[in-house]
Amino acid sequence: MGHRLKIISGALVAFVSAQAVVAQDAVTWWYEAANPEQQAALTEFMIDKFNAKNPGDKLTIDYRGSELDKQLRVALLSGTGPDVVNTPGPSFVATMARAGQLMALDDIADEKGWNDRILPFFMDLGRFDGQLYALPKTYETLGLFYNKAVFKENGWTPPTTIPELNALADEMMAKGIVPFGSGNSGWRPANEWQVSIALNSIAGPDNVQKALTGQIPWTSQPFVEAINELDSWWDKGYFGPDYFSLNGEQVMANLAEGTAAMSPTGSWNFGLVPEYFNGRQDEVGFVGFPSGEGVPYPIFSLGIGSTFSISAAAQNPEGAAEVIDQVFSEEFYTDINNVWQGEWNMPLRDLSGVSLNEDVIPLYTESMAALASAVNENQYGYTTWTFMPPATNSYVVSGIEEVWLDILSTEDFLAEMDKIFQQELAEGKVADIPAR
């Protein structure tokens, strides 16, 4: 009898403790791909700290890989999915918000003080029809990485105008050095980086803003000139012979080896610098891409890697708000950027309390400061993946290959792009573009 009593009481204790665990409200967050070190960093700095601070909640992060946005769309459509929603950018937020899948965040933002903590330009990108639906997770930019050692050896300086760039690239070609280390094998949309650079640095961000708001068509002359210039770089071989074969890591390896002298790419590549410029991180430089005539230098095109929203069907919206609040804290910014640069550049207004450790390359901190000052001086541009609606951006990625490979003319490419854009603009799929 005594034995049976022990079993029953043991079972009761187990049941009560299980209930205690169940009593914690789960907060769910689907994240894209992350390697084991990155996952460990998120566990340490996000999950463990969140759970310690919020004993009533239990955060889980589910790593869904590179197809996260497709999985999210299907899940939200069926009224399921995570509490914390990571969308790929404002144009996706627009469609989801208008379909009632996301929660309006205005009250939470007031309560948590997000409007005071986050740069207003980026807050505006999450507003649709007068309501706040998303916060930008990270902001990124495009620029020119270059190998300082190769530049020094040849007496070169980073170009600031397109004629200077062309002269320098010709010189590099003559020496057998690839001017633009780049490739789209690992990530086909890498093409959009080149188009974003050409549109913003050659046609100029004012024109891009006008086109995005429907004031001028994409077939306008400045865009024709920009795409023609981009096409001429391809024809002259600036992108090297293996653009369609190389992935991002091989590109960075070539830049580090000096077989490529420059690389027009994004700030997320700072994450690769420690590995490929191991022990000689002072040999890598990052500057704004040279500007065309009449366009101020430098123009840093802004991109938003992904955004944070709360699902309208969230099981635990308060918990989700707490998670987002923790992301936009100085503490998390410092913790995560110490170990994982380029992916967690939250647009906080005040970074004075942030001090990154000595392992973080100074170039990263300097470049982010240069970017912030460019945004302040209105010298920012618009990346296609953040500001263009989905079908237009998808066309940009594939269509530019047809221009490069002489299957389409610049005029035909832009005409098709404009046709798709105007339709998406009419359907309300273009994100609200803040005035300059």
């Binding site: 769309r73 469609t95 379909a99 293996d242 653009y243 074969s245 989905p390």
Partner: protein, 281 residues
């Protein structure tokens, strides 16, 4: 009473095959971004498809792909299977070796071909270049991208065909083979007059399935080129995927998917007719 046994499979088929299939047919007549409410637009998606040059390019690539897979793997499979019939020692070993590529995950096979064979910096192509041979990565050339992917897919596919044909050949009566040999038939005559006619139903089934599979091809192309460069390796399934998930044109993608099904249905129709004729005989 025995009809009740069909219910479990019927439920599964209706819920996970028939309903989505019917929904796809319906969606082909709507404009839908996969998020907001669909709008009925009649045949507009099909009209747009008719005028879409990428659709025609993708369809042509599917036809080329089908032609490649109707010839090479079936021919290699038949030869390999007949050779397996000839050898007795090591037969199981060769079957395992032939079949091995089939059980490797597609993504691994595709990445090996892309990164360790074709890549001009890390692959065999790089090694050949170092030895002075001017070889380019086929995936990077508009004229060869589709064939580059097809080679990788063929490599993993022909062994499957060989094993299927070998299994069929083993069913051929030994007496028939022996008597052909006694009559003095050589290898080619044995194949032409005994083996191939005997396993014709299996070959026909594999050919029909090849047509269906070729119009469904997606994985190798999506992993290795995503339809590029400049749509030169685009097929209907990668186009439908791009439209549905990158461009939020789910209705248009459904219309594209219907075209894919049309080819599959035609192949299935011919197969059923063939089967009925055989049954009648």
């Amino acid at each position: 009473m025995y009809r009740l046994f069909a219910i479990p499979t019927l439920i599964i088929n209706v819920s996970i095959i028939l309903l989505p299939a019917l929904l796809t047919v319906v969606l082909a007549f709507y404009r839908w971004d996969g998020i907001s409410n669909p709008t009925f637009i009649g045949f507009e998606n099909f009209e747009k498809l008719w005028g879409d040059r990428i659709f025609w390019k993708a369809l042509k690539n599917n036809v080329i792909w089908t032609a490649l897979f109707l010839t090479f793997p079936i021919a290699i499979g038949l030869i390999a299977a007949s050779l397996l019939m000839l050898v007795r020692r090591g037969r199981t070993f060769f079957q395992v070796v032939y079949f091995l590529p089939m059980i490797i995950a597609t993504v691994i096979t595709a990445r090996i071909w892309q990164g360790m064979i074709y890549n001009p910096q890390s692959g065999i192509v790089a090694m050949l270049n170092r030895y002075g041979y001017d070889v380019r990565d086929p995936l990077s050339q508009t004229s060869t991208a589709l064939y580059g992917v097809a080679v990788a897919d063929l490599w993993h596919w022909w062994g499957f065909m060989a094993v299927i044909f070998f299994a069929a050949m083993r069913q051929v009566s030994q007496e028939q083979i022996e008597s052909a040999r006694i009559e003095g038939a050589n290898y080619f005559q044995l194949m032409r007059w005994v083996m191939i006619p005997a396993i014709m139903p299996t070959i026909a089934l594999m050919m029909v399935m090849t047509v269906i599979w070729s119009f469904l091809v997606f994985d190798f192309i999506f992993i290795m080129t995503q339809g590029g460069p400049a749509f030169t390796s685009e097929v209907l399934s990668t186009m439908a995927y791009r439209k549905a998930f990158y461009e939020l044109g789910v209705g248009y993608a459904a219309a594209t998917a219907l075209v894919i099904s049309l080819f599959g249905l035609t192949a299935a129709f011919f197969y059923i007719r063939l089967q009925n004729r055989e049954d009648a005989e």
